[in-house]
């Protein structure tokens, strides 16, 4: 792969650091008037999700990472891998292991489109859309008439995720969930 020099650093650049693919979240040129220039980068390790600050000397270069974010449809799991298919019409399939799927596992729904991050053509991360519609598989019976306000209860969704929902929600309903906060938004 190519190398990037510190003067080419910018948010979103994917690079190799200590053997792992990383993404630059934020880049700042730091230079005292009479001193040495540095480039301070908020870096995210794409495999572990760790975010930290890494500083580079001016002129330092690092290897680019062969990383791509692609839209893929979730198909099924065989227990070991979660299988996705490219949404570009090529039907090409990729299997992501448990560490690549990570927290997204509780939002995986068949036929939904996810962003799968490929590193050297293998999935390393899966990101859910901001909102998914999921069916309630288990919750206490709904309280009739109480649609306006007050109280919440746990509900288990088809993917296994547990979210707090209003008291009037019934088993079998479809709910719109914000995957970033893991919170109920509305009935779907």
């Amino acid at each position: 792969m190519a190398n990037y020099n510190s003067n080419e650093f910018k948010s979103g650049l994917k690079v190799m650091l200590e053997g792992d693919p990383c993404s630059m979240v934020d880049v700042e040129f730091v230079k005292p008037g009479k001193g040495q220039a540095f480039t301070r980068v908020r870096m995210k390790n794409l495999k572990t999700g760790r975010v930290w600050d890494r500083t580079f000397k001016s002129g330092e270069s690092i290897e680019a990472a062969d990383v791509m974010d692609l839209n893929m449809e979730y198909l099924y799991t065989d227990g070991e891998f979660w299988h996705f298919m490219l949404a570009d019409g090529t039907f090409e399939q990729y299997g992501a292991d448990v560490s690549a799927v990570g927290d997204c596992i509780k939002w995986l729904k068949e036929q939904e489109i996810y962003v799968v991050t490929l590193w050297n053509d293998a999935p390393i991360a899966v990101a859910a859309p901001n909102f998914v519609d999921l069916e309630v598989t288990e919750t206490d019976p709904g309280l009739k008439g109480d649609t306006a306000q007050g109280g919440s209860k746990p509900a288990i969704l088809a993917t296994g995720a547990t979210v707090r929902v209003p008291l009037f929600i019934e088993q079998g309903e479809f709910l719109k969930i914000d995957t970033r906060s893991g919170e109920y938004v509305s009935r779907a």
Binding site: F29, K31, P32, G33, K34, T55, F56
Partner: protein, 328 residues
């Protein structure tokens, strides 16, 4: 009313920033008029660039009409050399609002072309000049009541990092830097680079809202005279001003010794060579001015756009410029 293409205004800056800049420039002129400091204007393009190892002048070529032979010149990184020649010629106290150029410097707080307010005060001590800088900033940032702190460089390191930057060993400074900053840097890297790293990454974010740092390590003197501090350590009589963690200005009790000035040019160039940078010829006119006699003075350079950023609460220098370098 100024008319700019609509896209320029909406995307890159707002007209109120133009008005704010004009207001601050007029405040600066009134400040110096009241103090009987003369406004001057010196060349932006010069035969000599700065020798400072960490500042790179932007080279330009002047080609006289009728020839194809170009003369190498530089866009000035500050008006310092030329203003000192005026001081040596007997100008008295002077100031300048000058365009300055620095190669390679671009970021949220840097634009390769920017505005420096530089001024020199005859017979001022460093303390007197620091007070005057604080007075000027107080006038521009009128909406904030700033409580000014004056910390020595040593005190700042001791307060924030519990290490004495003047007396600690090179190994101790390196260990401190590597404990706080994730970076890969050779052990042979100069001590001042490690100190710069600690200053920019650990100390600046921890400084009081309005703070002067003074008495730098003698190795970071640039064009300041050196002296012995109250603990017997050799220090540079130099200061920097920080407001909200933003470096605003750099001042010196000015070096007036021509011989020492020549030695510093040589040291700068040795440092430049070690960094694989081209050496810069010593400005013989500056050396000649010092030989003729630079009066006792203190001087300071203040980044005008940085001051505008503070005055308007902007985090990006592009927001306070009509057009930053991408749009120039």
């Amino acid at each position: 009313m100024l008319r700019l293409p609509k896209a320029d205004i909406s995307q890159h800056h707002q007209l109120h920033q133009l008005r704010n800049r004009a207001k601050v420039i007029s405040q600066i002129r009134a400040f110096f008029a009241a103090r009987d400091v003369l406004e001057v204007d010196t060349p932006v393009m010069s035969h000599y660039g700065v020798s400072d190892p960490h500042i790179d002048s932007i080279p330009v070529t002047f080609t006289p009409d009728g020839t194809s032979i170009g003369h190498s010149m530089y866009l000035m990184s500050s008006p310092e050399y030329a203003m000192k020649r005026l001081l040596a010629a007997g100008s008295g106290c002077i100031y300048q609002i000058a365009k300055a150029f620095r190669n390679g410097e671009a970021g949220r707080r840097h634009n390769p072309e920017f505005t420096l307010l530089e001024w020199y005060r005859l017979d001022f001590t460093l303390e007197q000049l620091m007070q005057e800088v604080a007075n000027l900033i107080d006038i521009v940032l009128i909406d904030e009541v700033l409580e000014w702190h004056f910390w020595s460089y040593r005190q700042a390191f001791e307060e924030v990092l519990s290490i004495n930057p003047l007396t600690a060993s090179d190994d101790a400074i390196q260990a401190k830097a590597l404990a706080h900053v994730d970076i890969q840097m050779d052990h042979s890297t100069p001590r001042d680079t490690w100190l710069d790293l600690l200053m920019s990454h650990c100390i600046e974010p921890q400084l009081p809202t309005a703070c002067f740092i003074y008495d730098y390590p003698a190795s970071q003197a640039a064009l300041a005279r050196t002296d012995i501090d109250e603990r017997g350590n050799k220090v540079a009589r130099r200061f920097e001003v920080y407001v909200n963690g933003i470096e605003l200005a750099n001042g010196y009790h000015e070096l007036t010794d021509a011989q020492e000035q020549e030695q510093r040019f040589a040291l700068d160039n040795a440092a430049r060579s070690a960094m694989s940078k081209v050496p810069m010829a010593a400005d013989i006119r500056l050396v000649a001015a010092l030989q003729a006699g630079l009066p006792e003075c203190s001087g300071v350079a203040l980044g005008v756009e940085r001051l505008l950023m503070l005055a308007s609460g902007e985090k990006d220098i592009a927001k306070v410029m009509a057009f930053n370098h991408h749009l120039a």
